[in-house]
């Protein structure tokens, strides 16, 4: 009985805490006349277009606070592709939703951190979490656009493809006529390789296959010439042959319009093909980041190594697949020490102490593991030379 009582008290405590957080958030979001000085900021690096610094996104749920993203820092350089890899539940999608300010509020909130974005149309840099809604709407879909995972559910089944494409063009280009918008939509459909674009323009989503729908979604994302495209698992729902088509298209388009891409995926193969920089996430934190060749040829964090080894490869025959034992820790109750400790085969005494900081291995390469403390490579030559 005592246990039950304690539990009820604990749940009530959580509820009270959450309500406080919700109220604070509502108050903040209802502010009026926000001074520009509150959201204007300076970029730290001249080449980057988006800088995420110490981003923390928390969900205040009935069973406790879920730290979905907890202190993530990385830059997106202009015209480059950054791949974010991790298993389901590691916070990669929440990270991208935070950038778009599409979190389910007030349960999900950006608790702290900065997302600096270079808004070249206004020639300024803004801090996205502090932006008023009106300003955010100018950026969302226009300067930063998003491709979602499921082309089957992203499109609205009751509107024609054309109407959905026109919508964002009409919204973001003041004074454009409907005719011009339609012309631009058809151009976009042609750009993403849809034959008989005019027929598709009048059609409805259910008439298209998965691959074609994903092309329409990409056309929609590109229609306002965005500076950043966030692609959240753009090919997961597609077949391999269609995936190859879509990846080829994305690569091609990136060069054409010179946009940056944040590619979120769990498929290491896709990342290797597309990304210039790679960020590996685990349980809401970055465990390793670097250039694609850093990560694939010289992975340092045991989790990254495990991920790569657990993929069956076509080269060479392994007798038994490597598998990471155990599973991801419970997100409401994360320990103070390294989250990977209980699954790690290189676990040392020090791992039971504080969460390891990101150790710098080279100018581009960082890993959050005590193994990298003394700069000696533990996995020399990477996994593929074995």
């Amino acid at each position: 009985m005592g246990d039950k009582k304690n539990n009820t008290a604990r749940l009530r405590e959580i509820k009270r805490f959450n309500n406080k957080k919700y109220r604070e958030h509502t108050k903040l979001s209802r502010r009026k006349n926000i001074e520009p000085s509150q959201y204007l900021t300076e970029m730290k690096s001249p080449d980057s277009i988006l800088e995420i610094e110490n981003l923390c996104t928390y969900f205040y749920t009935d069973v406790g606070t879920v730290k979905a993203v907890d202190g993530v820092t990385f830059n997106v350089p202009k015209g480059k592709t950054v791949g974010v890899v991790g298993e389901s539940g590691c916070g990669k999608s929440v990270m991208s939703l935070s950038v778009m300010r599409l979190l389910q509020e007030p349960q999900g909130q950006i608790a702290s951190g900065e997302i600096r974005f270079r808004q070249s149309s206004e020639n300024r840099a803004v801090n996205i979490p502090n932006l008023p809604l009106k300003e955010m709407q100018k950026i969302r879909g226009n300067e930063i656009s998003m491709i979602f995972q499921e082309p089957m559910t992203t499109l609205n089944p009751v509107f024609s493809i054309g109407a959905q494409l026109d919508e964002s063009i009409l919204l973001h280009n003041k004074g454009i006529s409907k005719k011009d918008a339609a012309k631009r939509s058809i151009e976009m459909l042609e750009l993403v390789g849809i034959a008989r674009a005019e027929g598709i323009y009048k059609g409805y989503p259910h008439e298209l296959s998965g691959g074609m729908r994903q092309r329409v979604v990409i056309a929609m994302a590109l229609s306002c010439n965005p500076e950043i495209i966030i692609a959240d698992e753009p090919t997961t729902a597609l077949d391999v042959t269609i995936q190859a088509q879509i990846l080829d298209l994305l690569r091609d388009l990136k060069n054409k319009i010179n946009a940056s891409i944040i590619l979120i995926t769990h498929d290491l193969g896709v990342v290797a093909e597309m990304a210039d920089f790679v960020v590996v996430m685990y349980a809401g934190r970055i465990v390793e980041q670097g250039t694609a060749s850093d990560i694939f040829h010289n992975p340092q964090h045991p989790y990254t190594v495990g991920l790569m080894k657990s993929r069956p490869t076509s080269h060479g025959q392994q007798e038994k697949l490597y598998s990471i034992p155990g599973s991801v820790p419970n997100p409401t109750d994360l320990p103070d020490f390294c989250y990977f400790k209980n699954r790690c085969e290189f676990c040392m005494d020090i791992c039971g102490q504080k969460y390891p900081p990101l150790y710098k291995l080279s100018n581009t390469h960082k890993a959050a593991c005590y193994l990298c403390k003394d700069e000696k490579s533990k996995f020399e030559g990477g996994v593929f030379s074995e």
């Binding site: 296959s209 391999v240 995936q243 990846l247 080829d248 040829h297 069956p312 697949l321």
Partner: protein, 323 residues
């Protein structure tokens, strides 16, 4: 050891398209169109193809979960398509299936022990006194803990649920298990755990697998014989080594080259297929693949290529090798 555990001959499964007030049949979706293959004991037969090519339908039809339109499926010397429902019942313990989505294939209202043991009790495989021990034993062989027996599916993660599904299939001591995309819904690190478990169980119990998947790297890892399907027919079938080394059919080549390689330095010359898979309700004339084939010739558009053996059990249906 060379006996075939299952032989499928000219299997056809058509789904009628009905229309109008009278629901008259106006056509057929040829989900599986004239497929023959056989699987040897303790072997893994991999079936690869894009979504909608009929691979799942094959898996379900040979277990008679859907009724076939035509053909034969011989298990244990009996044509199971000709059997009555009552005659089929005892045979059900010989063949089991593991479904793709472990979230929807477990009854949320049943505890795990009940899920695994339902069929065991139905077929009276063990005595009442041994029942619980038997279930615990099966669970342990799938790396589940004995105290999981009274829990409900929602308390488990995706990987564990898939283990429950495998345990359910194993519980009746089957010879053949149809694995319908068992790892597609799982994360990479969990995928590896499940694949290892399957391999281990196969070695221990001499199981035969029909492994259905769209992921070529997984199929290459686990199978001994691989068949590639396109629009309801097998276009190429060979032993794994042969198929991946000397790929013959242009579709298999395209499939192979479409798999992304986790190495940023390898820039592959990709064969990127144009267009989408045609509708199986109205497949193209001649070779079904000719609309997307990079090596399409005149005769491909009119004549259906013969599916034949090109030596050492390497079957292929393509005009390129038939000049």
């Amino acid at each position: 050891m060379n006996e075939n555990i299952i032989t499928v001959e000219n299997l056809k499964k058509y789904f009628p398209i009905k229309s109008g007030i009278l629901q008259k049949t106006i056509g057929n979706v040829k989900a599986v169109d004239d497929v023959s293959f056989s699987i040897r004991k303790a072997q893994t037969f991999g079936l690869v193809g894009e979504s909608g090519c009929g691979k799942t339908t094959i898996g379900r039809t040979i277990l008679r979960l859907t009724e076939p339109t035509d053909g034969k499926c011989i298990i244990d010397g009996k044509d199971i398509f000709a059997l009555k429902k009552s005659q089929l019942r005892p045979l059900r313990t010989k063949m089991q299936i593991v479904f793709q989505d472990p979230y929807s294939s477990l009854d949320p209202r049943m505890p795990v022990g009940e899920i695994i043991g339902e069929a065991v009790r139905e077929h009276n495989l063990v005595s009442k006194s041994d029942y619980r021990d038997y279930i615990v034993n099966i669970m342990q062989s799938c790396e589940l803990r004995p105290y999981h027996i009274d829990r409900y599916p929602h308390e488990f993660s995706g990987g564990q649920r898939q283990r429950i599904c495998i345990a359910r299939a194993l519980a009746v001591n089957p010879d053949l298990i149809v694995l319908d995309e068992p790892v597609s819904a799982l994360d990479v690190s969990i995928q590896a755990q499940i694949i290892n478990l399957l391999k281990e169980l196969q070695a221990k119990r001499g199981l035969t697998f029909l492994f259905i998947s769209h992921d070529l790297s997984v199929v290459e890892y686990i199978s001994e014989v691989v068949a590639v399907m396109y629009l309801g027919s097998i276009v190429e079938m060979a032993s794994k080594k042969e198929l991946f080394k000397h790929t013959m059919h242009p579709y298999s080549k395209a499939l192979l080259s479409a798999v992304p390689v986790p190495n940023p330095d390898i820039k592959m010359d990709r064969v990127i297929l144009q267009g989408d898979i045609p509708s199986p309700a109205n497949p193209p004339q001649g070779c079904k693949f000719h609309t997307r084939c990079p090596d399409c010739m005149e005769m491909c558009k009119t004549k259906i290529p013969e599916y034949k053996d090109y030596g050492s059990g390497h079957y292929c249906a393509c005009h390129l090798y038939n000049k």
